[in-house]
């Protein structure tokens, strides 16, 4: 009945609360107004309330430094109030501001009593943004199912097994007895292969009913833990292109799922697998083109359904690479393949392209290789398939990036020696090189050569570049709240670029994906565990946010924008966005200190 309760009810995480808890909060609440300039509480004071902004704008200050801005629907003073510790900042009203003041004790009681409500704050404090986002999208992901349903739920039958030494005849009678289309071949408990109806065709031609199972089974088997999500099963099917997955319970075979079982769970994302098959079977460019268009639509759907960036980018990279490989096969002689390597650079090199794909490619030619004309033909074909040319012309069809191994090696040597702005830009693009087609050893050798020619000077320049664009405080600034924030410039690039610097300094360039790079740096001890965790969370969140934004644009037929507006975000996203940008800012500080950027270039 009383309006503050209705206000709370509409704001996450208060919206998770039951009536009695909402009543408990409104029953210990005051509404206060502060004129512009007024101090709400001072630094080192224990905050007596949890503040929730109803209207206006509050600045949080550490001395004279503005640390954060909070506006309508946002909370502050929480840590100090809950832990009864002195606040580490001062809160000052920057406009006339109305706040709800919730007694710390009442807040704490509700916090203790309600797990979803509490995990909202605790995941936040611990910066586990992904579980946070899961919490926020609880209902949506329920609908989608794929990310929450476990693969074990698809297993309908106890496993049907036979031994490698059984005859095919025996295997078939086992299959018939159980009414299944496949039998897992086990040695002891360990699965060593799988014999399916499909394999029978080969038995028919090359064998007899008395042949050994081990001679005709498909091997190795692809296994998945029973606790894996259906989505993982799906991406595994995509990656491997097979039809049967063996589901494991620790070391024991738990059952078998087929691509059909998985697909039934995956509407509408099943369309991606269908499209992927279409790509594989396409006989001409028109078919590839229609498949490529269809995939953008399907991906947008999935992004809006709450499928995460990491999972989607994995799928898309598989499809995108396959398209490129198909086109390359069309335009090059198969014998040539060991004489060159086709490389993707930039975000495609990092396996991070999703909706905004363009051609970032290069070529390393060995003793021989496709001529420039062939590369141009590939580029042209890809363009007609629907992958636009790289506007900056970082493409294999450009003579500058169509080079022999020695020429590439020399390029990097020169870029490292003279890190001019142009060279820093080239390094930013070409240090994310991933082999897509051809002889991967050429790239491996080049990476070794790069590792040997890195200079400290170049690392410092790259670190400087990565730390150049500091995210604005309070995201939308005081004056420019209507202007929006460039997620790519202030969030995604600083992390991707900064991580690249560290990967370079640690000579680990063969890892190209930012997430894998962070994990590799963490495992090598180059990044602290907590920092790595924060970065992984922040990067995943920023990419997710950008992906959803782009997906919405694709769906509405708008051009894709990197600008994100405050009013398009729900409070939860805004809160996490702010925290993610704090992670970015502290990472930049860290980079500058580590590589001596502060001392000047």
């Amino acid at each position: 009945m009383i309006p503050p309760k209705e206000f709370l009810r509409r704001i996450k995480p208060f919206s998770f609360l039951r009536e009695e808890h909402l009543n408990a909060l409104t029953g210990s609440l005051d509404v206060a107004m502060y004129g512009a300039g007024e101090v709400l509480f001072s630094k080192d004071e224990v905050c007596p309330f949890v503040f929730l902004v109803f209207s206006g704008l509050v600045g949080l200050y550490d001395g004279d430094e503005l640390v954060d801005l909070v506006s309508k629907g946002e909370i502050f003073g929480l840590l100090s109030a809950l832990h009864r510790t002195p606040s580490y900042y001062e809160a000052r009203a920057l406009e006339d501001t109305i706040c709800y003041l919730i007694d710390a004790e009442a807040f704490e009681k509700v916090y203790q009593a309600h797990s979803a409500f509490a995990s909202f704050f605790s995941t936040f404090i611990e910066r586990r943004f992904r579980s946070f986002a899961r919490l926020a999208r609880q209902e949506e992901s329920m609908q989608d199912g794929a990310t929450t349903v476990l693969v074990e739920s698809l297993v309908g039958k106890a496993p049907v097994t036979c031994a490698p030494g059984n005859s095919v005849r025996e295997a078939v009678s086992i299959m018939d007895a159980h009414g299944v289309g496949s039998v897992v071949v086990v040695e002891g408990e360990k699965p060593v292969g799988i014999l399916t109806n499909r394999d029978m065709r080969r038995v028919l031609v090359h064998g007899s009913p008395e042949s050994f199972v081990k001679d005709f089974m498909s091997t190795p088997v692809i296994t998945l833990d029973r606790q894996a999500s259906v989505l993982e099963a799906y991406t595994t099917l995509l990656r491997t292109g097979i039809d049967h997955l063996v589901v494991m319970d620790r070391d024991r075979v738990y059952g078998v799922v087929t691509s059909k079982d998985v697909l039934a769970q995956m509407e509408p994302s099943s369309s991606i697998l269908a499209i992927y098959r279409k790509v594989l079977k396409a006989v001409d460019l028109d078919e590839l083109k229609s498949a490529f268009h269809a995939i953008r639509v399907a991906v947008s759907e999935m992004a809006l359904k709450g499928v995460h960036f990491y999972q989607l980018s994995q799928m898309i990279t598989s499809v995108y690479d396959t398209v490129v490989i198909r086109v390359l096969q069309k335009h090059t002689d198969p014998h040539e393949a060991k004489n060159f390597v086709w490389i993707h650079t930039g975000s495609s090199g990092r396996k991070e392209q999703i909706l905004t794909t363009d051609q970032d490619s290069a070529i390393i030619c060995g003793t021989a290789g496709p001529c420039l004309d062939a590369a141009e033909a590939v580029t042209h074909s890809l363009e007609s398939v629907g992958i636009p040319r790289c506007p900056a012309n970082y493409m294999a069809s450009n003579p500058r990036w169509h080079l022999s191994f020695d020429q590439w090696k020399e390029n990097f040597r020169q870029w490292f020696l003279e890190p001019t702005p142009d060279h820093v830009r080239y390094l930013t693009v070409f240090l994310d090189m991933r082999a897509v087609y051809g002889n991967g050893q050429l790239l491996g050798r080049l990476l070794n050569a790069i590792h040997e020619s890195v200079t400290n000077q170049a690392v410092r320049f790259l670190a400087y570049d990565a730390a150049l664009h500091e995210p604005p405080i309070g995201i939308f600034g005081i004056k420019h709240r209507d202007r929006g924030l460039d997620l790519k410039k202030y969030g995604i690039y600083p992390i991707a670029n900064g991580i690249r610097v560290m990967i370079l300094a640690n000579r680990m360039l063969s890892v190209t994906n930012t997430r894998e790079r962070i994990e590799a740096l963490r495992d090598a001890g180059a990044l602290g565990k907590d920092t790595a965790g924060d970065l992984l969370e922040a990067y995943a969140f920023l990419q997710d946010l950008r992906l959803r934004q782009q997906a919405r644009a694709v769906k509405q037929g708008r051009s894709e924008a990197n600008l994100i507006m405050a009013d398009q975000l729900d409070k939860m996203d805004l809160l996490v966005l702010k925290e993610s940008l704090k992670v970015v800012a502290s990472f930049q500080k860290n980079l500058k200190a580590r590589y001596g950027v502060d001392r000047g270039l």
Binding site: I2, P3, P4, F7, V31, M33, Y34, G35, D96, I98
Partner: protein, 200 residues
């Protein structure tokens, strides 16, 4: 006295009609304020059993007859109400609520006298200071709620209206930096805006 040291109670009543002599109170909502801080925690709402019923009004308020018959009569809660109505009475066209309350208290043998602050009058006074003369329509509670950017969640519930009146008063005082209670009360004596059309 400083505004920040004064106590206010924002009040809103539902009645069976507009005639103070004939009609009865059927619901009372109180939202107290310490200075300009709204004490939502002490907000109070009760139905009151009337002596007679007018079905039409009740339909309008959405209060059903059965709940009213179970509600306490005014006499029964008079002492509690008196204790809750400390300080200056605040409301939208609070004069009318005040008259209903006075009469009900009187019937219960209690003398009830309070200073009044009508937020419509405050608005008119502020208008004069800023040389904007609001007309009657602009002074309705709905119009004030809109002007001060407060969403209408649940209108025509006494508790919501009492809360909105408190919040409007809070904004009026903060924005215009009025520090002193007596200054405010004196100014308001010259403003007479509240006629019956504002009641709903």
């Amino acid at each position: 006295m400083l505004l920040s040291e004064a106590s206010f109670v924002s009040v809103d009543l539902e009645t069976t009609g507009l005639d103070v002599r004939r009609d009865d109170i059927i619901a009372i909502a109180l939202v107290p304020m310490d200075g300009l801080k709204i004490r939502v925690r002490h907000a109070y709402y009760t139905l009151v059993k009337p002596r007679k019923y007018r079905l039409q009004t009740m339909k309008y308020h959405g209060i059903d007859l059965e709940s009213l018959q179970e509600a306490p009569p005014f006499e029964e809660i008079a002492q509690d109400l008196l204790a809750r109505c400390q300080g200056i009475l605040l409301g939208h066209c609070v004069h009318i609520d005040y008259q209903f309350l006075r009469r009900a208290f009187k019937a219960a043998g209690i003398r009830f006298e309070r200073d009044l602050v009508d937020i419509a009058e405050v608005e008119k006074w502020i208008g004069q200071k800023t040389s904007h003369r609001p007309n009657c329509d602009e002074l309705s509670l709905d119009a004030l709620i809109r002007r001060y950017g407060l969403k209408e969640h649940y209108r025509h519930h006494a508790l919501a209206d009492a809360f909105f009146a408190a919040q409007i008063f809070q904004i009026q005082m903060t924005r215009h930096g009025i520090p002193d209670v007596h200054h405010l009360l004196n100014q308001l004596r010259n403003q007479k805006v509240c006629d019956t059309p504002f009641l709903f």
